[in-house]
Symmetry: C2
Subunit: 357 residues, 2 copies
């Protein structure tokens, strides 16, 4: 107890000593120049090209910098260079690991190029997206990364006016005016469905997230509808989350006939469905096959492990970072990039009983 009061006492003291020197405002270049007895140009050189400054002068200036606790103003730098060294990314949510993984890769690669990442979440609301995009531009973002191709008119207007380099991700489209770096959502969904069809499944329930304003989900669903086969699809819309998945599972189990297989258009939902089925005592894949689409790390670990379609989101993050960096620094507008998706066969899908593959 005595130690505790001592600690608190110490802390208060720190508070006080910190308050004392605070009033004198931050030193600027002129202050340093004056203190060192040189011109502002020389201080600027010390900061940017120390090689041009005589050793003696350099020392004097650096001493002044240290003493005055000088920290150059980012804004003043930016006003001259026209560079703020950060870009913005707009993603629907951070709660889905797929976006978190994408952002992790994006940030890592941007950071290699000395760019920082401002993250903004849109909650899949295009109005919010437009507002936040405006905010990012207002604070000086040099480029934008957005999710999907559908955006509001104000958003496009903003890009038009500012000509800010902007890359669309999670979506591939050759013909888009804005460069896209992503995968073919339609093909990814078809790859998944074809796998289930090949295994002999004919009654397939498709669990997907909200279609409203979500071009990725829409593309995936329309991909499924385009496939010509002798089976039947039932679609179930739910929230993209584990809970959404367990709810969808419950709904599917309430149908008069149990499907042969369930195809979830995201892995989180598939995991949720798996849990939902397990809690009702339904065995996957014995009683029905289950597939996801995303390929999260958890999908490889679940029991059974989840068959899915791998979306290369980490690579997408890296490619987007590189492309945006080049666009910003050397005005090279990127070409659209299609990243290949691939089927990952794991334990949650097996041939339908009686079906020889």
């Amino acid at each position: 107890m005595s130690t505790l009061s001592l600690e608190i006492g110490k802390w208060v003291q720190i508070q006080v000593t910190q308050k004392d020197p605070t009033p004198k405002k931050r030193a600027n270049l002129r202050d340093v120049a004056k203190a060192a007895g040189v011109s502002v140009a020389t201080v600027s050189r010390v900061l940017n090209e120390p090689g041009l400054v005589k050793k003696d002068t350099l020392d004097r200036v650096q001493k002044a910098i240290t003493e005055l606790r000088f920290v150059p103003s980012a804004a003043a730098r930016a006003i001259n260079s026209g560079r703020t060294r950060f870009v913005g990314a707009l993603v629907p949510t951070l709660d889905n690991a797929i976006f978190a993984r994408f952002l992790a890769a994006l940030e890592r690669k941007l950071s290699e190029n000395d760019l920082s990442l401002v993250v903004a979440t849109t909650e899949s609301d295009l109005e919010v997206e437009a507002k936040k995009a405006k905010g990012l531009v207002d604070i000086g973002a040099e480029g934008l990364i957005v999710t999907g191709a559908a955006h509001t008119a104000e958003f496009h207007d903003l890009l038009d006016r500012t000509m800010i380099p902007t890359i669309i991700t999670s979506y591939f489209d050759d013909a888009s005016a804005l460069p896209t770096i992503g995968y073919d959502n339609k093909a990814a969904a078809q790859l998944a469905l074809r796998h289930l069809i090949e295994l002999g499944h004919r009654q397939i329930a498709v669990v997907h997230g909200p279609v409203h304003n979500n071009d990725r989900t829409f593309a995936r669903l329309s991909g499924l509808r385009e496939i010509d086969w002798e089976g039947q699809l039932t679609t179930v819309e739910t929230e993209i989350s584990l809970r959404g998945g367990t709810e969808a599972a419950a709904r599917i189990l309430s149908y008069p006939t149990k499907p042969d297989a369930i195809l979830c258009l995201s892995d989180v939902v598939a995991l949720g469905v798996l849990f939902g089925l397990q809690s009702k005592g339904i065995s996957v894949p014995k009683e029905l096959s289950l597939m996801g689409l995303d390929d999260l790390p958890s999908s490889a670990c679940s029991v059974p492990s989840l068959t899915t379609v791998h979306l290369p989101v980490s690579r997408m993050g890296e490619r987007a970072a590189v492309a945006l960096e080049r666009w910003i620094s050397i005005q090279e507008k990127p070409k659209a990039e299609r990243l290949e998706v691939r089927l990952i066969e794991r334990g949650s899908t097996i041939p339908k009983v009686g079906h020889s593959r």
Copy 2:
């Protein structure tokens, strides 16, 4: 195919027409003033206090703004106001949902206060953290949010020099010089262990992430060691990920005697352990009890659902956002905030056979 070429043709055309107007550089205040036949001061007023400008002049200036596609420079604004309107957050990783959730809440709340969030990941490396913190200051962050209380000397030196408002999260400590907003890691771990002890478990394996440079893990572990009881703890260090959990499970099962319970110091790891046990045919909680610590959304959905200690990371994000905003805007240095943790009893823990609670 003909449609495709048409589309490509169209895209090329867009490219060309975009290149044409590009050369003329971005218009600035002076350009707008000249075009509207007013002074720069008037244009500035139109931007910031339109009420002071005569309707007629206002219209003329706004027309010029539109025609010249004028977008004010964020840097020039910042140089005058001294405000960049963004803060930086340093987290170990985005790959663990616990940080993603924290950041999501943080971003949401900051955004309500017109602050943007720059995210930087440190990979739990304090050197990287210091370097990225420097980067955040360099680009003009007005405040910082960091994870944990352990940092390098350079990091502290940076804070000292710049006096940048900085809040420590995921960690509570009254006596820290920097304000902390977080939970008591020691108490959280103890809460978990006491629950297992109460259920009668006496051989407990503790699975935790790397201790090196991680004060949260360290605090949790030392909390466990401080408890005086008549049982035995075995600790297993692993990577904080699902895979890390499955590996730890395998390791634990290779021991000569199976523990009564496994306590994982993060939920991701607990989920991994659960999968690892399931794949070896071990039934949780029948054969052994399993506990996590974090409380992720997935923990409520797994089968069995995971008993855990809830860490209020979303609230932590909100509180940190509010506190940092106040510190920045009205120089009110926040007080340390302890957020309560609580035990969430779910399906993965049951009393040891023969133990009456």
